[in-house]
Symmetry: C2
Subunit: 137 residues, 2 copies
């Protein structure tokens, strides 16, 4: 069993085949929108309901197993919650790339400048990826 499924078990939720599928697709793809997740899981479990996707994603966010990534102009993506990291999004094709940025220094800076005690962050960079840029030649 993969590490993610072990963690899911620890989260207190029951291990249903639908949930396993969601977690496996998230491990494989990294980030998924609700509709893409539904599409993928539906191939394995044609009877799955969109409501089940929503219920599970919400439950997994509530217990900290998943994280939402809000993206301007695109559907939110959901990902396994594995510590602080940032995202770079292609505005054209929607591809999302994870990157590590030293957020500790930034946290401190944000804290000093705002006088709000910072606990987490969401950093999203927007641009055009190589493949999409080629398409504009």
């Amino acid at each position: 069993m993969t590490k993610s499924i072990e963690n899911l078990k620890k989260s207190g939720l029951k291990i249903t085949p639908q949930r396993v599928a969601i977690v496996e697709f998230l491990s494989e793809y990294g980030h998924l929108s609700i509709s893409k997740m539904y599409e993928l899981v539906k191939e394995k479990f044609p009877s799955i309901s969109l409501a089940t996707i929503y219920k599970n994603v919400n439950a997994m966010i509530d217990n900290g197993f998943l994280k939402e990534v809000k993206i301007i102009g695109q559907d939110s993506r959901y990902e396994l919650n594995y510590g602080e990291h940032s995202h770079v999004v292609c505005k054209e094709c929607g591809k999302v790339v994870d990157i590590d940025i030293d957020t500790q220094t930034l946290f401190k800076e944000a804290e000093e400048k705002s006088t709000i005690k910072v606990e987490s962050s969401s950093m999203v960079f927007y641009g055009i990826c190589g493949e999409c840029a080629k398409g504009h030649l």
Copy 2:
């Protein structure tokens, strides 16, 4: 006439009293959710429709006059588009504070690590503000 209204004029949209009110409230408050904006403008123009708020906000985003700030767990806020800066949000009371962070260095770093040419970013820090922290004593 304030600088913001001058800029609105330049944006190509007609200057209606409703639009002036939206821009003035945004200048005053810095960031507003749709519902707060509606509430405020409605005091001045009781007949304004929520649809008008939406149409105007969308039109002003489309021409780059406004910017959306997506916030996890809270309604999006809208602000006048005045160059790159970051936001610190209190998770409890929803207060949003603007801060300047040197994004150029981060852009470069994000670009190198992702191989996506970065053009803009949205950086939001989350925490608990002083007043809300006091409430927990």
